[in-house]
Symmetry: C2
Subunit: 507 residues, 2 copies
């Protein structure tokens, strides 16, 4: 007689589940009282954990209790109202509860047959999103295209790269691999995942051309792209892919899609548009200018998990020609054959992505889109943009600072303005260090025109105008202490002129 495993009964699940729901609600309510970043050193969390798994099971109360002793003290709190780092990756109540349903159902959506509702809801949700963003008809499932959920924009970029290579090779890529010198183009501001995708796809980092940008807008310069395409062609290389960005990671710059798109058609190159962060803003008609020209794209993605209140992982990725995508990525071993697939009447999403297995992530979109409604989501985007614009106006009114890039969305890039470059970088890095060490907020940095710059990105549902105003007060105070301690000599004239450095307005 084999011993029975101590599976959790439905009644236990009910009891412990309520406990965990309450824990999450308490966690959210308590966030404002916490530091945003933890005060820990490498190894602190590991030190709490035993060297091996327990031999016999423990009580659930013990486990939940340890969330507070082991886990939360070592967390960077991404849902904190004062989290302004990177791009926020915000979730919401309805998204979390959809994830709970997804986990409970535990369905595998690799084939239509293994989860018909999982597959069909995903198709419809991507159509809903395409409609909300007013994406071109060619991306909808009613035409030749269609959408799919990827885990991240990185994976969307990789998939776009793969199909682009398939197309550029006339299909030989599937069996022969990378058999010519393919090249890939993006701006110097393109995301690091583009370089990584090139490497993973076997063309190498060296095949990526980083096209220079307009020094003011930081958007890709079409003339430079043309020069690069022509030079590569002349050198017998094969341009395969251009990745244009709507809302770059550093500064939310918007590449000029209409010119890039026309050039891609002229050169026969796949155009992928990476709108990971800023794509969500296109649900607001007044912000949709950034998407002008998207009808020229072969593929497009944005992350509902960044700015649309849907928990990670949820990248929405569309192609204009789903047949080409499937031809590139399909596999069909005997053990996956089934009547529905052979009928040709269904989508098998395993052929739209890198892994085979997949969760029922469309539930998150269904819950979020229905709970908020289109108007509710627009209100979220608009409030983020409005508060960011107000923050920018405060920065501009303090002559110690300058804004270094346009801020059409909810990210503002700024820095202490000093004449000496090295001193300026040191002062800004020190300012960032002190701000984050306080635990009261969390900002990250980037470099713009090779200078160290602070980024403040707004997106959390709990973040209000008051939180941002408080953040600004702290930035001002901390700046004063940096000024004093570093004895940086800031020229009063440069401060005055900074006040007029106002050509980088919204949108």
């Amino acid at each position: 007689m084999v011993e029975q495993a101590p599976h959790m009964t439905a009644d236990e699940f009910r009891r412990y589940g309520h406990q965990v729901v309450d824990w999450v609600a308490d966690y959210w309510s308590g966030l404002p009282e916490r530091r945003v970043t933890p005060d820990v050193s490498p190894g602190d969390t590991a030190a709490f954990l035993p060297a091996r798994a327990p031999e016999t099971g423990e009580g659930f109360d013990e486990i939940v209790k340890d969330l507070d002793t082991v886990v939360t003290p070592g967390l960077t709190h991404w849902q904190h109202p004062n989290f302004y780092a990177y791009f926020p990756a915000n979730t919401s109540g309805p998204s979390v509860l959809a994830d709970l349903v997804c986990a409970g159902i535990g369905v595998q959506g690799m084939l239509w047959a293994t989860g018909p509702a999982c597959t069909e809801m995903e198709t419809v949700m991507l159509d809903w999103l395409a409609d909300l963003l007013d994406l071109p008809a060619r991306f909808r499932s009613s035409g030749q295209g269609g959408g799919v959920i990827q885990d991240s924009a990185s994976s969307a970029t990789l998939v776009a790269t793969l199909v682009a290579l398939y197309r550029a090779s006339g299909g030989r890529w599937r069996t022969d691999g990378v058999d010519r010198h393919y090249t890939i183009y993006t701006s110097t501001q393109g995301h690091s995942s583009i370089e990584k995708a090139a490497r993973l796809a076997g063309v190498g980092d060296g095949a990526v051309r980083l096209i220079d940008v307009d020094s003011s807008t930081l958007a890709l310069r079409p003339a430079s792209l043309r020069s690069a395409l022509e030079a590569d062609r002349a050198a017998d290389r094969v341009p395969a892919l251009v990745v244009a960005t709507i809302g770059t990671t550093s500064t939310t710059a918007v590449d000029p899609l209409p010119e890039i798109g026309e050039m891609c058609r002229e050169f026969g190159v796949w155009l992928h548009v990476d709108a990971a962060y800023a794509g969500a803003s296109a649900i607001c008609p007044e912000l949709r200018w950034s998407h002008t020209g998207v009808e020229l794209a072969d593929s497009y993605c944005f992350d509902p998990h960044k700015w649309l209140l849907t928990g990670f992982d949820c990248d929405a990725f569309w192609v204009a020609d789903r047949a080409e995508l499937i031809q590139a990525l399909s596999v069909l071993p005997e053990y996956l054959r089934n009547a529905a697939t052979e009928s040709g009447a269904v989508i098998d999403y395993r052929d739209w992505q890198v892994p085979l297995g997949r969760r029922f992530r469309a539930l998150k979109l269904w819950f979020v889109l229905r709970w908020y409604g289109a108007e509710g989501l627009r209100a979220h985007i608009r409030s983020g943009v409005a508060v960011a614009q107000e923050f920018a106006s405060w920065v501009r009114s303090d002559r110690r600072f300058e804004i270094v890039a346009p801020y059409p969305f909810s990210l503002v890039c700024f820095r202490l303005r000093l004449d000496d470059d090295a001193a300026s970088d040191a002062a800004n890095a020190e300012l960032l260090r002190r701000l984050n060490a306080s635990g009261a907020l969390y900002l990250t940095h980037t470099k713009v025109r090779d200078r160290f710059v602070l980024r403040l990105a707004i997106g959390a549902p709990q973040t209000t105008r008051e939180h941002v105003a408080e953040a600004w007060r702290l930035i001002q105070q901390t700046t004063s202490s940096v000024d004093h301690d570093l004895e940086v000599m800031i020229d009063a004239d440069s401060r005055r002129s900074a006040h007029d450095h106002g050509d980088l307005g919204a949108g």
Copy 2:
């Protein structure tokens, strides 16, 4: 004044959260009364959904109600006790509740700095698992190696392929791409993700050598591997990777690791071991024979989300040399630079995987390993193996059937035994169709020695000996109806001889 988005309050989350927990508990309790596979046609679920998202938000009660009207009628119920298809991908109460915590915390674990506890718990959980499976010391974080959670074994195979190419190229692969004719080896029974990884990595399907297998055990034949390696070398190709399998997808065949591993060392080829399904069995000392020779592997993976009660996605992937992995996959744009990374004292898991972002999946392992304890998990594996062995004994005692492959774990491959090949395939396909159409259980098929074969895989926590006995009764009854309807003439002698077809025992 910008309108406020209707964010769910903490109190609402508490109320609705309890509601959703109860829904999941009810869903599980009600599974035995449901069909395993839905009785739907393509488009049925989509037809329930409006063409566009609602303009204004809906009440949560409406959404939850639609789970029963829209979602569950279109589900293949992977957690159903009578789900015997593919490999089960089973979850458990503690895993689902950990996913709820993960979703609620909403942390991004791409860098140590963005989630110290997320990173460190993952390292420790992978060490716990390595300890439970008695994996070699070289895979532990205390040595040169270490573990990481991938979404799936497919992604683990891809990552192994990429690092293998990096190594085979002497590092040039990073910048130069695939610049020689690299080759990859697995058995004819290797998973389709190996071919897909080769394609994605830019070497092409054509670079994959499918090595033949022993006709009885279906395990890779080392002599054939040697011939292939030698032939490719002689043809100026560069063998880069061998993928050996512990527990193939079709039949759970176990490749001979000691011989394969020695050969990989001799030829300087990366050995990746794919134990996606069967790896979990190594927590039981009596089943660990299948892992003999794993100390020769450069990388190894198994899926806790298949047979270790941890919800998808959770593939555990180890490398013996983490430095090489990181060198192959690292990117470091300015906006991700931080003091902890530069100190060299931390792990940044973004360099261990394809995407950049990642969830706090280690929580699932932590909850599951603590709730069940090592003994509880062993009991789960042992009960699955015991019931599978008993099922096999029933099949063997019915002379109409034969078992077509060894069944050392919890998968049994069998078929109706007819002398005529074509008639046999048709009869078995028809038997499968009728069984699945009944809705009472769900099996899938494969081909073994080019013949159509049924697979019965056991893994769900709700599955008991009685469920499997009932499944066997249904298989027997349905077989009688197939016999009758197809008027297949089964030779009585062949039936008798099938009774003695018993050389394919456990282990």
